[in-house]
């Protein structure tokens, strides 16, 4: 187990190098840089701009040189200063990563909580109206564009006033809130984006769960369990569920990238200050240190997610040994 974890983490290192290098290369190759807007300002002298160019290492077009200037401090844990916001990248990115983790994590829990029972129901009532209804729900989740769904939810929030229409917390009252109130307020803001992201992810799990369950229910050990006189509930939960759930965990690893990509749009529409909106803003303003650090965080999140999926699989399925 331990060697497996170490080996997998080591395997992630080349991936980080490749991805960050590609990102840097594209930033270097793209037209213009952060100083373009500053250059247009007549109040700032040419010498100062040139000095800044040297300071930010934007004066060279050599990809390897530029990459090295980023890589060397980054390896030592220094991700540099943001160009646009005068703060270290580390201080800017930490909170954003937590926000994105909160959103994606709760969306995952949401989709699993609904997908497993729905998939089981659909399999048990195969080809009946309940199955068809669940099939329709999963098609809905599969097809609805996250942008449109988010906007619908915001419209719903604005019309009914039940939920806040965007943002992560109440800007006005935040400073005078007790920690408990802050916690509740954040959860309150989390509900709608979580539903959007969770529904979209849910579709895939429901369909997978349904087909796995149908497969499992047709096997001999289920017939044996039923023949023993066990209740249907017990057969389903104790005998079928554990066997049907394995492939779901495998696709959880795969779907993580989709989830993170979907989170970008949901964050953007809901004004949720997460990693997605941070990267988007940084890309528009060519804030290279932020882009690079965010990309590293993204890859780390993906690797960690896949690792969790593998470990979970090993815990649930005794046939799988992690070597």
């Amino acid at each position: 187990m331990k060697t497996f974890l170490i080996r997998r983490l080591l395997a992630a290192i080349p991936l980080i190098f490749v991805v960050t290098f590609i990102t840097k290369a594209m930033l270097v190759a793209s037209p213009g840089n952060y100083l373009d807007t500053i250059r247009l300002n007549p109040a700032i002298s040419r010498e100062y701009v040139a000095q800044m160019e040297r300071m930010y290492h934007l004066d060279s077009d050599n990809v390897f040189e530029r990459y090295w200037y980023w890589l060397w401090p980054a390896v030592q844990g220094d991700f540099g200063y943001s160009f646009t916001k005068s703060a270290t990248v580390g201080s800017l990115i930490g909170e954003r990563v937590l926000n994105t983790l909160l959103l994606t994590g709760s969306a995952l829990v949401f989709s699993w909580l609904f997908a497993i029972p729905l998939g089981m129901l659909a399999a048990v009532y195969r080809n009946r109206w309940l199955d068809k209804l669940i099939g329709f729900i999963s098609f809905f989740g599969l097809s609805i564009p996250s942008v449109f769904f988010s906007l619908l939810m915001i419209l719903f929030a604005a019309k009914t006033g039940l939920f806040p229409a965007g943002g992560i917390h109440n800007q006005v009252m935040w400073d005078v809130m007790t920690p408990w109130e802050r916690f509740v307020d954040t959860l309150w803001h989390l509900v709608l984006p979580m539903i959007v992201l969770g529904t979209i992810g849910m579709a895939q799990y429901v369909r997978q769960m349904r087909s796995e369950m149908i497969e499992t229910l047709s096997q001999d050990f289920i017939r044996t369990a039923t023949a023993k006189g066990l209740s249907r509930w017990r057969v389903l939960t104790r005998h079928a569920l554990g066997n049907a759930i394995n492939p779901l965990i495998t696709i959880f690893g795969f779907s993580l990238a989709t989830l993170l990509a979907g989170a970008l749009l949901v964050e953007y529409v809901f004004g949720w200050p997460g990693l997605g909106t941070l990267i988007f803003d940084a890309l528009s303003s060519k804030d290279e240190p932020i882009v690079m650090a965010s990309v590293v965080m993204l890859v780390l999140m993906l690797v960690a997610g896949n690792l969790i999926a593998d470990v979970l699989l090993a815990i649930i399925d005794p046939r799988i040994r992690l070597e």
């Binding site: 991936l15 930033l27 190759a29 749009l265 990309v295």
Partner: protein, 405 residues
């Protein structure tokens, strides 16, 4: 060895396989012996459907799938409307009535009776702005009948037919906003039709490019194996592992801003196809790996055909049904990709219309709350994506050899 097996089985009761083969080859006596067996076996189906090409079979099975056909009909209607956008839309996409921002949809306000209660041909009332700041309007007393085949702005259909006849419209100074107006007074109905040209065609064009690339690269990787395979598959894995939208955005900034919409359109297609080919290539490679061991490929190689000929003429055609299924199922990725980019402001720019950039107005909370019809393009995206998913799902079921009936 074959003799041994034959003698192993009792001669009087032929196995299903033998019965089927003899039935197919026309041996009447043996077929009679196995008739009882045959009637209940899957081979009866083979003889019934025999004589049809695989694509005919696919179509037969697809036609029986109601949701898939619903998807197909919806798509045909949507793509036809997109091609005929200039004709169906009463106005051009950039025809802006700056004095009438956010006019309410008139779809439910087409009148059939005048004030006296007598039946008229369908008409709408003229519009008087009350408060342009709040975008409130009231009806004029003047009536503008909805006429068919009216002359208006000229347009082109598929760069070929030029005309100025529109399906319907009202005379000036009346104006018809079936789905309402946006923030600069452009007709949302017309813009949805013109937007469909962009949003829907990106799906087709993108899938064509990525499928062809995926087929060629996947075919090469599977056929040659070795270093080529290794290198191609590692890049496929990297592409599939990255969160697509982030990568799309990073690629997008490579091209800078301030280009014409045609430019941006092709950039979007190229970016999406650059990511999309990975899925196709992986599927194709897997199939080619098994196909290249088949006898007919070995025969083709023995006949001295070149590798490219074997790949293109012998192997790839056999992967076609699976390619069609994966392609259909991945069209939504392209449609949603364009929507995402345009919505984020790095895609199709105003005044050109696309379903994504039309939704930008809804990002403003006041607009969304007071003028919810700015969301209508989202309904169309949803329906288009759903239709592609229905069709793709049906095709997958139809192409599955296990459901041979």
């Amino acid at each position: 060895m074959t003799d041994l097996i034959k003698h192993d089985k009792p001669a009087t009761t032929p196995s299903r396989e033998e019965a089927a083969i003899t039935a197919l080859t026309g041996d009447a006596q043996a077929a009679e012996a196995g008739a009882l067996d045959l009637a209940s076996s899957a081979y009866a189906t083979i003889s019934r459907v025999g004589g049809r090409s695989p694509s005919q079979l696919l179509w037969l099975k697809l036609r029986r799938n109601r949701t898939a056909m619903l998807g197909l009909y919806t798509l045909v209607a949507m793509y036809a409307a997109a091609i005929l956008a200039g004709f169906i839309a009463p106005y051009k996409y950039d025809n802006a009535r700056h004095d009438l921002p956010f006019h309410t949809p008139m779809l439910g306000r087409i009148h059939f009776f005048d004030e006296q209660g007598s039946l008229r041909r369908p008409f709408v009332y003229g519009i008087i702005p009350v408060d342009p700041q709040l975008a409130t309007y009231r009806d004029d007393t003047s009536r503008f009948p909805i006429r068919l085949f009216v002359r208006g702005e000229s347009y082109r259909i598929l760069w070929l037919v030029s005309s100025n006849i529109h399906l319907f419209g009202v005379d000036e100074p009346g104006h018809i906003f079936l789905f309402g107006a946006d923030q600069v007074g452009q007709d949302i109905f017309s813009r949805i039709l013109y937007g469909a040209q962009v949003s829907l065609s990106i799906g087709i064009l993108g899938i064509l490019i990525s499928t062809i690339t995926g087929m060629i690269l996947g075919g090469i990787a599977g056929y040659f194996g070795g270093v080529t395979d290794f290198a191609l598959m590692r890049s496929v894995e990297v592409l599939l592992a990255l969160p697509g939208l982030y990568f799309i955005l990073i690629l997008r900034q490579l091209f800078g801003t301030g280009m014409s919409s045609t430019h941006i359109y092709f950039i979007i297609v190229i970016i999406l196809a650059f990511i999309g080919w990975a899925t196709e290539a992986r599927v194709i490679r897997g199939m080619v790996l098994s196909l290249k061991e088949q006898e007919y490929v070995i025969a083709a190689r023995a006949m001295g055909f070149s590798n490219s000929r074997i790949i293109i003429r012998h192997i790839l055609p056999n992967t076609l049904s699976f390619v069609i299924v994966t392609a259909t199922l991945s069209v939504p990725f392209y449609i949603l990709g364009e929507v995402a980019l345009s919505f984020l402001g790095v895609g199709i720019q105003e005044p050109e219309a696309s379903w994504g950039n039309m939704l930008v107005a809804a990002q403003n909370n006041r607009y969304l709350n007071d003028f919810p019809w700015v969301l209508i393009p989202g309904v169309f995206i949803f329906v288009a994506v759903m239709a592609w998913n229905f069709l793709g799902d049906g095709l997958r079921d139809a192409a599955d050899p296990r459901t041979l009936s």
